[in-house]
Symmetry: C2
Subunit: 190 residues, 2 copies
DNA sequence: ATTTCTCATTAAACTAGTTTAATAAGTGGT
DNA sequence: ACCACTTATTAAACTAGTTTAATGAGAAAT
């Protein structure tokens, strides 16, 4: 649980007693590859921190898989939209690689936010982080071509290409496997 | 300033003394159409609430204007990315219609977050709101066609079409004026 | 009234993706 | 060792957008 503790401490200054009070609410859980942490029409009230493994966050629309995010070690994740709005999800959270997480319920999260102003601040700052990540994502979708986004992903998260099938990466980049293949071919010819 | 007060109260429960403590840090300001609240390479440490008017938040890349958001009455706005990260912006905030805002500096915002746990919570919740809006945006960019996004904007923010030139709306939708014209023509022929 | 400027539309050629379908190359289960 | 299944590539036809450039129409300036 030290990876989680260190991550929280990178956001806020908080004394040992208080952070340990908070950490007690995170439960260690493990899931096998292929497990679904969430399926469409289900509610989600759990917030996860990944200690180990990989999770795909995707929807299926008109029969087509749309990967929105691929979470790996060190990420906090949930279906943040359904979680915040307390509405049924329309997404899947599927374990792509055997997974070890620290999980906290929304109820317990509220407890630690109430318990300490510092944790409330952690909530605000991690929400900021989520915003910034999403903002970068949206800007990249707007301003970069598919080819540029492919190259950028290759640079920023090279591990993904080793651990995740290419058609999921294609979907994450917003194109079809065929489209990604074409881009790769085009790049290899130069 | 009641519109701002009501908006804050829609996020949190807070007594009158405390909210008035917070509100004193918001300064009323007015700007004429054509004013720039922010230009590329400038820092921004102000958070605005729009009482009246309209602001375009855009970048220019390779000579092309990219409208990221169009803010109107009741919106909180800033260049949230540059504001959070405390880096020089690469965007413009341009007043499209004479504007009345309530503005608070980052320093003063920090004061009210320190002053009261409830304001810290307001910070967290409004950050959540920003996240959710951005999330919706990203999902729409991913899952809807340009035509569908046009129709949706027409439904959700019909006022924009009255107050903002069409080429800005085209840019907001991520296409060229020519492209938007084609979509409108296609729709009018059915 | 005339000119000038801004904005929206249209046309034509082009482009980066799509879809569908066939093929090839691994990979896993029995 | 074999078969079935999954994944990646390629080809061919198609599509929704792009760019550039010309035209039209309304508003603002002199």
């Amino acid at each position: 649980m030290n990876d989680l503790k260190d991550t929280i401490l990178s956001f806020i200054s908080i004394n040992n007693v208080d952070i340990d009070f908070g950490l007690q609410f995170f439960k260690e859980e493990s899931f096998k590859k292929g497990t679904f942490l969430l399926k469409p029409n289900e509610y989600i009230d759990t917030f996860y921190f990944i200690s180990n493994g990989c999770v795909s966050y995707y929807t299926i629309e008109d029969g087509k898989t749309q990967v929105m995010e691929l979470f790996t070690e060190g990420y906090f994740f949930t279906d943040l939209y359904a979680y915040i709005e307390e509405i049924p999800s329309n997404a899947y959270l599927e374990v792509l690689e055997d997974l070890k997480v620290y999980a906290i319920s929304k109820e317990d999260q509220q407890k630690i936010f109430d318990y300490s102003h510092e944790f409330e601040r952690f909530g605000r700052l991690s929400m900021q982080r989520a915003f910034v990540n999403n903002f970068r994502r949206i800007n990249e979708l707007r301003s970069l071509s598919n080819q540029e986004r492919y190259l950028q992903l290759l640079e920023k998260r090279p591990d993904l290409f080793q651990r995740v099938p290419q058609y999921l990466i294609a979907s994450y980049l917003g194109l079809t496997p065929v489209g990604l293949s074409k881009i790769r071919k085009r790049l290899s010819q130069v």
